[in-house]
C-alpha cells in the first residue's frame, strides 16, 4: 500500500523521524515552509534530522475540542535533544497519573487510514520510552 506522511516534516524512510528547516546562519530550527528566518532574517536553510527521543516539557489532556476531534488526547511539547517539538503523547492512558512532566518519550507512528485512492497516511506521536 502506498504511504504518505501526515505532514511534510515527517520522513518515513529508512526509519521514521522528523526533519527541520535549519537556518544556515543562526541555526534556528523551524518545521514549516519558510520565507526567511524569524531570528535573523537569513533566507537559506538546510534540512536537519531531529532526535527521535526526548522528554515531555509540557502537556495538557484535552477533553473538550472542536467537532470531529476525538477526545481525550494528550497534547505536549517534547524537548528532542534541544529542539522543541509539538506532538501528542500516544500509547499511554490520557490521565494525569500516566503522563508527567519530564517523562521520557520516543517518536512513533500510526495509521490515519486510507483515502479513496488506497493511499495510507502515516501520522506521528510520542510514546513512553
Amino acid at each position: 500500500m502506498p504511504h504518505i506522511p501526515h505532514v511534510d516534516y515527517l520522513v518515513l524512510e529508512p526509519t521514521p523521524h522528523l526533519v527541520a528547516n535549519q537556518c544556515t546562519s543562526c541555526k534556528a530550527r523551524f518545521f514549516d515552509r519558510r520565507n526567511a528566518c524569524a531570528n535573523c532574517s537569513n533566507t537559506s536553510f538546510e534540512k536537519v534530522d531531529i532526535a527521535t527521543e526526548g522528554i515531555v516539557r509540557s502537556f495538557t489532556i484535552v477533553t473538550f475540542a472542536a467537532p470531529g476531534v476525538p477526545v481525550p488526547f494528550v497534547a505536549a511539547v517534547v524537548d528532542c535533544g534541544g529542539t522543541s517539538v509539538r506532538g501528542n503523547v500516544i500509547n499511554c492512558d490520557p490521565t494525569p497519573e500516566a503522563v508527567s512532566l519530564g517523562m521520557k518519550v520516543r517518536l512513533t507512528t500510526y495509521s490515519l487510514g486510507s483515502d479513496d485512492n488506497g493511499v495510507e497516511a502515516i501520522g506521528f506521536g510520542f510514546e513512553p520510552a
Binding site: V62, A66, N88, N117
Partner: protein
C-alpha cells in the same frame, strides 16, 4: 502635570454578561457615550478614534461614529487578538503624543455570549477524500488533535505546565486555587458576568476542558464594551479642577510582540514579551513592582495567571508558586491581583478586555470602587496578552491633585 503627559479623562465599561437585545454597536456606543460623560466632554472634542471588535470584523469605528457623532476625525480600526482594546488605547495615546490632537477616544467591544471554543480550536475538523498536502506544514489532514491542540484552554494549560516543569511546585489544585481567588473577588464586582463564589471542590469538580483547566478556570465568553477618553497634560490644564482631580495619569503605555525564542513557534511564548513590556513600563513610569497597589493581569486561564506573576516581576524569578501560596495576590494581600474577578469571572469580551482592565484600575485610583475599593490605591498596572502574540502593559497613577 507635565504638558507631554497623557491622562485618562473618562472611562467606562458596560456590564459584562449576556446582552441578547444589544449588538456590538449598541454596546460600544453605550460605553463610548458613558466615557465621554465621565470625562465631561463630547465627540466634538475628540481628535482621534481608535476602536476594535475582534470577531466582528469590518469598520466598528465608523459604525460607532454613525451612532454617536460623525465629526470627520481620523478613525483607526485595530485588531490585535486579546490585546485589541489595549492597542486601541495605545493608538489614541500615540496620536496625542505625535501632536496630532489633544484628546482621543478608544473603544473595544465584543459579543461572545455562548461562543464556545474560540479560534482555530473551535472549527469543525474532518478528513478529505484524498490525502493531498496543503498549508505551511504540507499536511494531508487536519493537525488539531493529532499534532497537539489548537484550543486556547489547551494552549494555556501547557503554558502553566511548562512553568511547572521549569520551576516545580505546580499542581491541578494550585491552579484551581488561583481560580478560587478570582471567583471570590468577583462577588464584589456588580459589572462582572459571574459573581458566584466557588469552592475549591466546585472548581476542581467542574467540567474538565483541558487538564488542568476546568471550565471554571477558563475565561468566560460574554458580551461587553469598554471605552476611554485620553487627553494631553497641556489640554488637561485648561479643564476644570474636578476633571483634573479625577484624571488618571498614564505613566506607562507599552505594546510588545514576541522576539524569536527557541520553541516560540511550537508553543506560544507569552512570557518573553510580557517580561519586556513590564521592564519597559516600570522604566517609563519610574515605579517598581513593589509600588503597585493593584494589578489586573490577563488570566485568560488559571494556568496563565501564575506565569504572569513572574513575568510582571511581582515575585522573584521562579517564585510564582510561593508568591501565590503566601496569599499576596488576594485582595487583602501585598499585591492584589484581579480584584475585578479577572477574566475567569468578570468575563472576557475580547476587544473590550484591554480597556476594561484599565477601567478597573482607574476606579480604584479615583477611590470610586465601592465595596471592592483597595484603600489608598495610588499606582496600578493593567496587562493583556493577545495570542499570536501581542502584549499591552499600562501603568496608571492617581492624580496629584
Amino acid at each position: 502635570m507635565a504638558t507631554d503627559d497623557i491622562y485618562i479623562l473618562g472611562i467606562n465599561m458596560t456590564k459584562f454578561g449576556k446582552h441578547p437585545d444589544k449588538d456590538t454597536v449598541d454596546l460600544a456606543s453605550a460605553a463610548a457615550l458613558a466615557a465621554l460623560t465621565d470625562a465631561g466632554v463630547t465627540m466634538k472634542d475628540m481628535g482621534v478614534l481608535a476602536a476594535g471588535c475582534l470577531m466582528g470584523g469590518g469598520f466598528i469605528a465608523q459604525q460607532i461614529q454613525k451612532q454617536i457623532g460623525q465629526t470627520g476625525i481620523p478613525a483607526y480600526n485595530v485588531s490585535n487578538a486579546c490585546a485589541t482594546g489595549a492597542t486601541a488605547l495605545r493608538t489614541a495615546i500615540m496620536a496625542i503624543k505625535a501632536g496630532e490632537c489633544d484628546m482621543g477616544l478608544a473603544v473595544g467591544v465584543e459579543k461572545l455570549a455562548g461562543a464556545g471554543l474560540l479560534g482555530g480550536g473551535g472549527k469543525s475538523k474532518a478528513d478529505g477524500h484524498t490525502w493531498s498536502p496543503s498549508g505551511r506544514f504540507g499536511a494531508v489532514a487536519p493537525t488539531d488533535g493529532r499534532i497537539g491542540t489548537d484550543t486556547m484552554p489547551g494552549t494555556f494549560a501547557q503554558v502553566g505546565m511548562e512553568y511547572g516543569h521549569k520551576y516545580g511546585g505546580v499542581s491541578f489544585e494550585l491552579f484551581a486555587r488561583i481560580s478560587e481567588k478570582n471567583h471570590a473577588h468577583s462577588t464584589l464586582n456588580p459589572l462582572a458576568a459571574y459573581t458566584k463564589r466557588m469552592t475549591l471542590e466546585e472548581i476542581m469538580g467542574d467540567l474538565m476542558i483541558a487538564y488542568p483547566n476546568t471550565r471554571a478556570m477558563c475565561s468566560a465568553n460574554c458580551d461587553g464594551g469598554a471605552a476611554a477618553v485620553v487627553v494631553s497634560g497641556s489640554k488637561l490644564r485648561t479643564l476644570s479642577k474636578e476633571q483634573q482631580r479625577r484624571a488618571v495619569k498614564v505613566s506607562a503605555s507599552v505594546l510588545t510582540t514576541d522576539p524569536y525564542q527557541e520553541a516560540c513557534q511550537v508553543l506560544p511564548d507569552v512570557n518573553t514579551l510580557t517580561k519586556i513590556a513590564a521592564r519597559k513600563a516600570y522604566e517609563q513610569a519610574g515605579v517598581s513592582p513593589s509600588d503597585l497597589d493593584l494589578v489586573e493581569l490577563h488570566d485568560c486561564f488559571a494556568t496563565a495567571e501564575l506565569v504572569h506573576y513572574d513575568n510582571l516581576m511581582l515575585c522573584e524569578e521562579g517564585g510564582a508558586v510561593d508568591f501565590f501560596n503566601s496569599g499576596a495576590t488576594w485582595r487583602d494581600g501585598s499585591t492584589p491581583v484581579n480584584v475585578s474577578g479577572g477574566l475567569e469571572s468578570k468575563g472576557h469580551p475580547i476587544a473590550a478586555t484591554g480597556i476594561a482592565n484599565i477601567w478597573e484600575i482607574c476606579h480604584h485610583l479615583r477611590g470610586e470602587a465601592g465595596d471592592r475599593q483597595i484603600e489608598g490605591a495610588k499606582v496600578g498596572l493593567a496587562h493583556v496578552i493577545g495570542l499570536g502574540n501581542a502584549c499591552g502593559v499600562h501603568i496608571l497613577e492617581k492624580s496629584a491633585l
